[in-house]
């Protein structure tokens, strides 16, 4: 037991480093503190679940890690680069190559076949890969959609749509996979499938951060961080029965 626990300890270099991160929204006269001084290190290869009540700042934190937004104060480094000091195009490249983002609402493009959805990040990569379509199709195979390549989003189930979105997040071999309630719109069996996929990806070395409300989902992770009112209130490493069972 102890030995396994040790094995779950982070071994890689820190890949997400947050120091006193504050995110403040101003609504009219009022200031909303979405993040109230978050300090956090996540090492390469970790599998982290972020939990907490609604409005506790989980999504806000994920968006910052995903370089979709900038902190109001404090510093946040992704893969060794301070996102507060990066130019817009460099941030775009970071989102393109280093980070894969999976959304609760899938965010697929309408009227676009699955393989084209997955190709999308490659179209924004510099220099442009020449075998975009092959790569996209391989990723779809990896997420178990070999026979759904040309389907449109409306021709796919929720779980299949989320797999397309995951294939899209993975297509550029990111170091970090971020998923904000990826199973929020799915039933529990489909959710388990998705988490099994994440678990396998993590075994291959990708750092994974998942936001979830559901304890069963969080149990897949090796580390569980809980937010409350914009702060981290607990941060525990854990064994994962689901992962054991899956392996």
């Amino acid at each position: 037991m102890t030995a396994r626990f040790e094995a779950d300890l982070p071994s890689g270099q820190p890949i997400i480093v947050a120091r006193d991160v504050v995110k403040r929204y101003r609504i009219g006269e009022q200031d909303v503190l979405a993040l109230d001084g978050v300090t956090l290190d996540i090492a390469a290869g970790e599998f982290v679940a972020i939990m907490g009540a609604s409005g506790s700042g989980k999504s806000t934190m994920m968006n910052l890690i995903g370089a979709l937004d900038a902190p109001s104060s404090g510093s946040l480094a992704i893969d060794g680069r301070d996102i507060g000091a990066m130019a817009a195009d460099d941030l775009a490249d970071l989102r393109n190559r280093t980070i894969g983002f999976v959304f609760q609402q899938f965010n697929l493009l309408p009227r676009t076949p699955a393989y084209r959805q997955v190709m999308l990040p490659l179209q924004y990569t510099h220099p442009r890969p020449t075998d975009m379509e092959t790569q996209a199709r391989q990723r779809l195979e990896q997420v178990g959609l070999a026979n759904r390549m040309d389907h449109l989003p409306r021709q796919l189930s929720g779980g299949q749509q989320q797999r397309v979105a995951i294939a899209r997040a993975l297509v550029n071999n990111p170091k970090i996979l971020l998923a904000d309630e990826p199973t929020g719109a799915l039933d529990s069996r489909t959710s388990d499938d998705i988490m099994r996929l994440f678990s396998a990806l993590n075994s291959d070395g990708i750092t994974i951060v998942v936001v979830t409300h559901e304890p069963e989902i969080a149990e897949w992770a090796k580390r569980r961080i809980t937010f409350r009112d914009g702060r981290i209130v607990s941060d525990v490493r854990q064994a994962s029965p689901q992962r054991e069972a899956a392996q």
């Binding site: 995903g66 979709l68 937004d69 775009a92 393109n96 965010n107 999308l120 924004y124």
Partner: protein, 410 residues
């Protein structure tokens, strides 16, 4: 994201809202179509006028034996004092820069060859006539001084007359009769085509002035050495305005027109007269061109409007594209390409419509119409530019979105 990718995305977007896209381009369609129609009709008319100026001969003045009103002959034609051989000689000798001069005494008469009969315009002219009118003979010879001196019964015929009286035959050397006077055809005039008024200019026959006066023109005319109207050709170095004034002065003296009385003749610069008409036409074209420019602008605003709607509708898509690595310029380009594509679509429809209507006008009004490739290219460029100009603001708005705000939009 390459332009090709952007084109593909734009095409998908346009297709998914096909009806809206087409309605949006209506302003551009109308703008482009009207540009094409106007220029086609305007060019056709201008081209026709220019062709006539050249046909009339550049550097040419025409003197009529009466005071002319702006457009037509004055009503006093019959009673006017004719221009004479003396006037021709005086003009040739006293006016500097005259390179050719000829009278033209015209009468409509039936020309008979065997049992064929054709009524045409028969004109007595001097030897310089074909030179002055830039109208050389195609076959045979010109009229010469000897023909004039001897009042020879020789004639040049236009191609229409040749066709009517000598179908499939060579008319040179053949004989025809006018008012029972036999004439030998010595030359065939080159083809001049239709005039602006639709008159067939090749339906003519030219004979020596002296012969015409003696044998063809009605005997009721008083003066024996009349020459009808006079065509004067000036050499290239001569200022046509100055020469015109000199001629007017000379003729006033000869015809004893007092300084206060109205001239009993008129010297007309035909080319200038035609050009003035062209100017009116082109002024009109400019005005109408401005109208179409306005409709292009209105069309552009329509495009801008729909692009803003599109940006709003697709804010989440923009957010997603940014989230997976799209740069500002990628987003910008995508919406610009879409706006330009909309405009070019409108342009294409407009061209089809414009060319169609121009042909219809040509057909119905038998007005010469010239659809030029330049104008089509120009109209397409204008449509494309409209897309760039009016697509710029919406595209910049899309590119300026913050990724997370875009993703979160409803």
């Amino acid at each position: 994201m390459t332009i090709l990718d952007s084109l593909r995305v734009a095409l998908t977007a346009l297709r998914s809202n096909l009806l809206r896209s087409i309605l949006t381009t209506l302003g551009i369609v109308i703008g482009v179509a009207s540009v094409i129609i106007l220029v086609a009709v305007g060019n056709g008319a201008t081209g026709e006028v220019n062709r006539q100026i050249t046909a009339l001969g550049t550097n040419m003045l025409v003197i009529f034996p009466d005071a002319m009103r702006v457009m037509g002959r004055s009503s006093a034609t019959g009673s006017a004092l004719p221009l004479s051989e003396g006037d021709v000689t005086a003009l040739r000798e006293k006016i500097f820069g005259v390179s050719g001069i000829s009278g033209q005494l015209e009468e409509s008469a039936p020309v008979v060859r065997g049992n064929l009969n054709w009524t045409t315009s028969v004109s007595g002219v001097h030897g310089d006539y074909t030179f002055v009118r830039d109208w050389p003979v195609r076959e045979g010879r010109e009229l010469n001084a000897q023909d004039l001196r001897a009042a020879g019964r020789v004639a040049l015929i236009g191609s229409t007359v040749a066709k009517q009286l000598f179908p499939g035959e060579n008319p040179i050397g053949a004989e025809v009769r006018i008012k029972n006077v036999p004439f030998q055809i010595v030359g065939l005039l080159s083809v001049k085509g239709q005039s602006a008024m639709g008159r067939d200019q090749d339906d003519v026959m030219l004979i020596p002035m002296t012969t015409a006066r003696n044998r063809i023109v009605g005997k009721s005319d008083v003066q024996v050495d009349q020459v009808g109207r006079i065509y004067v050709k000036l050499d290239d170095q001569t200022n046509i305005k100055v020469a015109q004034e000199e001629m007017e002065q000379l003729l006033r003296q000869r015809r004893k027109n007092g300084p206060n009385s109205e001239d009993s003749f008129s010297v007309r610069n035909m080319a200038e007269f035609m050009r003035a008409r062209t100017e009116v036409l082109s002024t009109m074209s400019y005005l109408l061109g401005a109208t179409s420019a306005i409709s292009l602008i209105v069309g552009g605003i329509g495009i801008m409007n729909i692009m803003l709607v599109s940006v709003t509708e697709r804010t989440r898509e923009i957010g997603l594209r940014m989230a997976v690595g799209g740069r500002k310029r990628d987003i910008m380009l995508q919406f610009l390409v879409e706006a330009v594509m909309l405009c070019l679509l409108g342009g294409l429809i407009g061209i089809a419509l414009g060319v169609g209507i121009a042909w219809l006008i040509a057909y119905l009004a038998s007005w010469p119409v010239a659809v030029s490739l330049n104008v089509i290219a120009g109209a397409m460029t204008a449509a494309g530019l409209t897309g760039i100009i009016f697509g710029f603001f919406p595209a910049r708005r899309a590119a300026g979105l913050n990724p997370i705000d875009a993703l979160r939009s409803e």
